[in-house]
Amino acid sequence: MAPADPLLRLINVTKRFAGVGDASVSVLAGIDLTVERGESLAIVGPSGSGKSTLLSIIGTLDTPSSGTIELEGRNLSQVRGAALAALRNRCIGFVFQAHYLLPQCTVFENVLVPTLATNNEVIRDGAPDRARRLLERVGLGQRLKHRPGQLSGGERQRVAVVRALINEPQLLLADEPTGALDRVSADQLGQMLLDLNRETRVTLIVVTHALSLAGKMERMLELRDGRLDRPRDP
């Protein structure tokens, strides 16, 4: 049986930002990365190394200066506008360090917000059931009608995770998901992510400082000098 095509492939991806005058700052200096379906990958690195930039590029929130990104075999540089937004809506789930829940909506409503961006009736019809199931799964089954202001930090982040999964994406990106949590909540959230990865086979890429979380992933890479490599020994 031929091996399945990788879900995600980055080929010589670079990213530069404008500096003072004509000088530019190179953040990513040629990233080559292949991520298989269902894989869990942690990206670590010092602060300012470009981890969040890399995740943003993978999540189509940013564009590379050069290089190719393929998601399910599609070259993302050729996808623009509405198609790109649809792809992000259907195929990618994003969890940020700050939960970015809408304070005016309940937990249940926050989870369902991504379904409003699509016209796919199948997705929208099944979303409420999926939302309840997932919230139950993460232990928030009794907090559906609560507002974000009534939840703890960890609970809010769990809601954000469920929101990221509501459209059953293939890829879940988490940018420092535990960065704002206390240790206990961080461990719980990290474990939850791994469990969801195993249960749903959603490909998980996590950017984190927390080596404890990174160590639990199937693979760990370090972003150093603009390139991805195996992590150095501490």
């Binding site: 530069r16 930002f17 404008a18 500096g19 700052v25 953040v27 300012g48 930039t53 943003s56 999540g59 929130l61 940013d62 564009t63 590379p64 200066s65 050069s66 540089s77 623009r80 506008g81 509405a82 937004a85 649809a86 792809l87 992000r88 809506n89 259907r90 990618i92 994003f94 940020f96 700050a98 970015y100 809408l102 304070p103 005016q104 909506c105 249940f108 409503e109 369902l112 917000v113 991504p114 379904t115 409003l116 961006a117 699509t118 409420p128 929101r163 459209n167």
Partner: protein, 1211 residues
């Protein structure tokens, strides 16, 4: 979860941040809806005034100078009811009231108070039934008069006071006609004021669509009829329905009903009734027996028979004969004329009657060019058959110029004095002659030299009166003596001769008829009155109520006008809304970023925000609707007081209509949402990552999305530069090729400046009044240039490197580049507002400037006058000086252009109603053409405006096939010229259009607007050539409007002399420049209103500046806290903020004022023009101060608290 729920949740959650936008929306809505309410109120006020002036009157028939029987419709309501009953119409209580309406002048207080243009109405009790609130006593006591309020105020009288009314006596024979006497043209009534009528007592009664009430006086009809020798006669009939049973009538504020036309066929019923009940007497025709009862004669008190009878009577007889309704009749017309002399050789007979007759009426065979003379004449002239006889007679030229003409005839034969049918009855009843006992008592309008009258002439008169001394053929007579009043003085009828007799043989009608049958005169009269339509004599009822309502419904649209005047205020409010709404959205940057990250498209996010904004707009519009009533009431108060000149003195009341409110709310929501959409265009266009980065410090205008952590540039710009996105393309590479920052804006500024200078130069070269528009356009372009320059300056400043020396002031100014779009919006608003407020004054019209020039709006005339009674003589003639007692020496150098006047609706800016039947003036075009008076703004297609007044001369042009094309006129189309404002605004027409009218005899014709003059004292009227005027309105005698030339140092002298001499005719003279100023005041008032409302918009704009300041400072509290933390004191920090925003204020006002200065340059440099420097200075100073105050308050508010608190709050 649905999008609707998300929107509602978001709206509820962020309602506090929406409060500012809500307030701005409420202001914009209040002004917008308020303007519409003003329009409704004006329209409703005019409608109310129209209904007030008519009361319950629905239909009216004015017979002009023709007096009908006052009891034409019976003496009680039953007569009209019977009409309805016979016509099978539903029974209604319809009242028809006769009125004798005559022009007059009023004098009170021994001449201390005077009123011209008074209308005296002789009425009876029936008239008051048609008032909403009838006059209590019903009948007016003899010797008493009721006045309306305006007349009572003018005369400064009240009940019990005495006054004098000088009333024009109606004359059967037009005073312009030959033989018409001038004596006894008015009668003086000394009366006591019985009461002053209120408006709902028909005090405002008038058939003209004008909101200005006339001067009305009401007297007893019987008394007036007796005093003016018109017993039992009336010249106006009004009718209306009193039935209120079918539906409730709405109440007027303060009581009284607004009558509605519950019976829409009153007009039709009255016309049918008229047709059935009218008699020959009502057309002032009389059928009587002559020549011993064998001949009937149709004649008129008006002397000349209406021309329509020439053909109508034979046609009626033919039909009657065919129907065998009575013995077969035949008819023939005759024209008897007063001649100065009949001469054969050196013998002459003075002052005699000569009859021109058709064959049957002639005493013998006659051909054109031949004459039959009486035995008496033959003896007097010692003439015989074959001799040549010369007739000398007068014809009437214009302005009652008598022109003596002669005609020669060959004497065909002599008839005996006792020839049957030739008697005194052949002479019509010439006023002043018929009843005279002797020749020397003749009192006609013709000059009679008494010394020419011989004793034998007196004897003739005693024996034979006006028996004609000679006969000519009718054709010849009509050729010599036909005039606009008619070409027959009688038509005679007789029973037809037995078959075989020649139809036109002499002696047919009343001449040598030995066995003629007696005339069935009653039958004949009935046949004639049934066969003739009253409409042919101009007698027809018009639906005056419907016309009045139409005039008010199509009045000047004050709703649109005030929308235009308020547009800057609305624009300022909407800009404020957009700013505040944008601010609110910007605080939700992370929310927007989240939605984008979740896969929402930018358009979807904007739509969600826009729906939320729509809710804000809806609530704001509802609140604004409440405020709109206050705004409208304030505007109406202004229109009734300080802006009263714009509405011709009308009193306007507040009226609210629900559909208008709903429309206004919808429009407010729409424009607010559009403003928000404009503001949201760039929202959600930023990358999600930047939005999620805790509110990135982006500057949208430079596309420099700086990540505060990495300092890296926004990917959006880089995307445009990267190979991956080159395929998409963007403007950025093109823009970047222009290279230097701000260079594009500078290029635009230079281009606009160059255009502006070009326009200004062109305007300066033209040196005409129209250059005002060019200079305004130049100023507008300079405004654009200034704004482009400011934009470029901001861009360049933002790109300035740190190499320049940094000072506190430069730091402050640099701060203005942080939010360039906001900064530019504020500059633009302030610049536009100050430009408009200052520059709009360039369009003020000045009546005084160049008033003496022919090309000006005064036509170069010094005085314009109008009289109540007609002036029959040429004011420059000797005869006029004699008749009116004028001192020639005091009038030296004066020349006059007289106009005939046919009253109608005033078609000027002073009349808010749409003129239905405009006032028509008749003038000899040459009098204006030779002066090249007035400037022509436009001519109809195919015509040249340089032909000027000669365009009034009727002519038809034909194409190669002979068809009339672009013809100035045909038989039914009369060319007319009007003032451009009258044509466009008052009539709602354009040059080239035609207007259907009906002439005095009920015949429809059209007026074609062949040209328009620019901004003149002729506003309110349409002018046609005098010959066309007298053809259509022959009954209008004399002249009632005058344009007077006089040397500038004699204006007062001429004015006082003419006023004195013609005071009994009610002449009122006004300096032409003053009249023009009254018309100009309308436009100037509108401009003043615009400046006031624009000033309010400017103040609102400076409030916007305060909001921007507050917002900017709050966003940068952390930075300011840092400055405090590193040692800055609070006071210099405040100065930093104030300087930063003061620069925007100063830049905005400077750009606007400089641009405005160019716009008003012609006014500044032109002679005699007053530029309201102080008003403008105070306005701009107010704006500057207001802006500074808001800036200072915002700064204080934002910078309160200590540094640490500010640092914490910023987190």
């Amino acid at each position: 979860m649905t999008a609707r729920r998300l929107i509602l949740r978001s709206f509820a959650h962020h309602v506090r941040s929406h409060l500012g936008a809500l307030a701005g929306t409420a202001v914009a809505s209040a002004v917008l809806i308020g303007a519409l309410i003003v329009g409704d109120s004006v329209r409703s006020s005019l409608r109310q005034l129209a209904l007030l002036r008519l009361g319950r009157i629905e239909t009216a028939m004015s017979t002009g100078d023709r007096l009908c029987r006052a009891d034409l419709f019976g003496s009680g309501p039953g007569a009209v009811a019977s009409i309805q009953h016979r016509l099978g119409l539903p029974s209604r209580q319809v009242v028809a009231a006769p009125v004798l309406q005559l022009p007059a002048i009023a004098v009170a207080g021994e001449g201390a108070a005077r009123a011209n243009q008074v209308l005296v109405h002789g009425v009876d009790v029936r008239f008051w039934k048609l008032a909403e609130k009838p006059f209590v006593r019903g009948a007016i006591p003899p010797g008493s008069v009721l006045l309306n309020q305006p007349l009572a105020r003018q005369l400064r009288v009240e009940a019990g006071d005495e006054l004098l009314l000088r009333v024009q006596k109606p004359s059967a024979l037009s005073r312009d006609a030959p033989m018409a006497t001038e004596e006894d043209a008015t009668v003086a009534l000394r009366l006591r004021v019985d009461a002053v009528l209120s408006d709902d007592q028909l005090g405002r009664f008038s058939l003209a669509a004008n909101q200005t009430p006339p001067f009305n006086a009401f007297v007893s009809m019987a008394e007036l009829q007796a005093r003016v020798d018109a017993v039992g006669r009336a010249n106006l009939f009004v009718a209306g329905s009193l039935d209120t049973s079918t539906q409730p009538l709405p109440m007027l504020p303060g009581g009284g009903f607004v009558p509605t036309s519950v019976f829409t066929n009153v007009t039709a019923a009255m016309n049918l009734g008229l047709r059935q009940r009218w008699r020959l007497d009502d057309a002032e025709l009389e059928l009587r027996l002559a020549a011993g009862s064998r001949v009937a004669e149709l004649r008129s008190r008006r002397v000349f028979l209406d021309p329509l009878l020439d053909e109508a009577v034979p046609a009626i007889l033919a039909n009657t004969n065919a129907a065998r309704l009575m013995p077969k009749m035949e008819s023939a017309g005759l024209l008897t004329y007063f001649v100065n002399e009949l001469r054969v050789g050196d013998r002459a007979t003075p002052y005699s009657m000569v009859t021109a007759a058709a064959g049957p009426l002639l005493p013998g065979e006659l051909a054109d060019g031949e004459i039959l003379i009486s035995r008496w004449l033959a003896d007097d002239l010692e003439a015989k058959a074959g001799d040549t006889l010369t007739l000398a007679y007068y014809v009437m030229g214009t302005r009652r110029d008598l022109i003596e003409q002669t005609a020669q005839f060959r004497i065909k034969g002599i008839y005996e004095m006792n020839t049957p049918g030739i008697d005194r009855s052949l002479m019509p009843d010439f006023p002043g002659m018929t009843d005279a006992d002797n020749c020397r008592d003749w009192d006609t309008g013709l000059p009679i030299q008494n010394d020419r009258i011989r004793p034998k002439d007196e004897e003739y008169w005693q024996l034979h009166r006006g028996t004609p001394k000679a006969f000519i053929t009718l054709a010849t007579g009509q050729k010599l003596w036909a005039n606009r009043f008619g070409d027959l003085t009688a038509i005679r009828f007789a029973v037809a001769r037995p078959s075989g007799a020649a139809a036109n043989a002499p002696g047919g009608l009343g001449v040598t008829r030995s066995s003629a049958d007696p005339i069935p005169i009653a039958n004949l009269g009935s046949v004639l009155s049934q066969g003739l339509a009253p409409g042919a004599f101009g007698m027809t009822f018009r639906p005056v109520r419907d016309e009045a309502l139409a005039a008010s419904a199509h009045s000047q649209d004050f709703g649109q006008l005030f929308l235009g005047l308020s547009f800057f205020l609305i624009a300022a409010a909407l800009l404020l809304v957009a700013l505040l709404f944008t601010f609110g959205v910007e605080t939700r940057a992370t929310e927007v970023g989240t939605l984008l990250a979740l896969g929402f498209r930018p358009g979807q996010v904007r739509r969600l925000l826009l729906w939320e904004g729509g809710l804000v707009a809806f609530v704001g519009a509802i609140l604004g609707a409440k405020g709109a009533t206050l705004y409208a009431q304030a505007m109406l108060k202004g229109l009734s007081t300080v802006w009263n000149q714009a509405v011709g003195g009308a009193t306007l009341s507040f009226h609210l209509h629900t559909p208008t409110i709903l429309l206004g709310v919808a429009a407010s929501i729409l424009v607010t949402v559009v403003a928000m959409w404009f503001a949201l265009r760039h929202q959600a266009a930023q990358p999600a990552r930047a939005l999620l980065a805790g509110g990135a410090q982006w500057d949208q205008d430079s596309n420099n999305f700086g990540d505060p952590v990495s300092g890296a540039q926004c990917p959006t710009q880089r995307q445009a530069e990267s190979p991956m996105s080159d395929a998409g393309g963007s403007l950025t590479p093109v823009v970047s090729r222009i290279s230097a920052p701000g260079q594009l804006q500078v290029i635009c500024a230079l281009a606009a400046t160059a255009l502006a200078l070009g326009l200004a130069f062109w305007g300066w070269q033209r040196g005409e009044k129209q250059s005002a528009g060019l200079f305004f356009a130049a100023g507008a372009l300079l405004l654009v240039a200034g704004l482009c320059a400011c934009a470029g300056w901001l861009v360049r400043l933002a790109a300035t490197s740190a190499k320049t020396r940094l000072t506190r002031s430069s730091l402050a100014v640099r701060g203005a580049t942080r939010r360039r779009r906001r900064s530019l919006a504020v500059i633009g608003l302030l610049a536009s507002g100050s430009f408009l407020v200052a520059a709009i004054g360039v369009f003020r019209l000045d009546a005084v400037q160049n008033a003496q020039q022919r090309s000006s709006g005064t036509g170069g005339f010094a005085l314009i006058g109008q009289s109540t009674q007609p002036v029959l003589h040429d004011l420059e003639s000797e005869r006029a000086r004699e008749v009116y007692g004028l001192d020639a020496a005091r009038l030296e150098g004066m020349s006059v252009v007289p106009f005939r006047v046919r009253e109608g609706d005033e078609a000027s800016c002073l009349n808010l109603n749409r003129a239905q039947e405009p006032r028509i003036l008749g003038v000899a075009p040459g009098l204006l053409a030779k002066r090249s008076a007035f400037t022509f703004a436009q001519a109809a297609k195919g015509l040249s405006r340089f032909e000027g007044w000669n365009l009034l001369v009727s002519r038809t042009r034909a194409d190669s096939d002979g068809a009339a094309v672009d013809g100035i006129s045909d038989d039914d189309t009369v060319p007319a010229i009007g003032d451009q404002a009258s044509v466009v605004w008052a009539l709602g027409k354009k040059v080239g259009d035609t207007i259907p009218l009906v002439d005095e005899r009920g015949r429809p014709f059209r007026i074609r607007l062949v040209a328009a003059v620019a901004n003149s004292i002729l506003q309110g009227n349409l002018i046609i050539a005098e010959n066309e005027f007298v053809k259509r309105f022959p009954g209008v005698a004399g002249y009632r409007m005058f344009l007077i030339d006089t040397p500038s140092n004699r204006i007062d002298q001429v004015s006082s002399e003419l006023t004195r001499g013609l005071q009994d005719l009610g002449l009122e003279l006004t300096p032409a420049s003053e009249r023009l100023a009254a018309f100009n005041a309308v436009q100037n008032t509108y401009l003043g209103t615009f400046q006031v409302l624009g000033g309010l918009g400017l103040l609102l704009g400076s409030l916007g500046l305060g909001v921007v300041v507050l917002r900017n400072v709050l966003e940068r509290r952390g930075e300011y806290a840092l400055l405090l933390a590193v040692g800055w004191e609070r006071s210099p920090l405040r100065r930093l903020v104030i300087i930063e925003h003061g620069v925007l204020l100063a830049a905005g006002l400077a750009v606007g004022v400089c641009a405005a200065f160019v716009a008003v340059l012609p006014s500044v440099l032109g002679p005699g023009t007053e530029v309201p420097y102080w008003t403008l200075a105070w306005t701009l100073a107010g704006v500057l101060l207001n802006g500074f105050v808001w800036t200072w308050l915002a700064t204080l508010t934002a910078l309160r608290g200590n540094a640490l608190e500010m640092l914490r709050n910023n987190q």
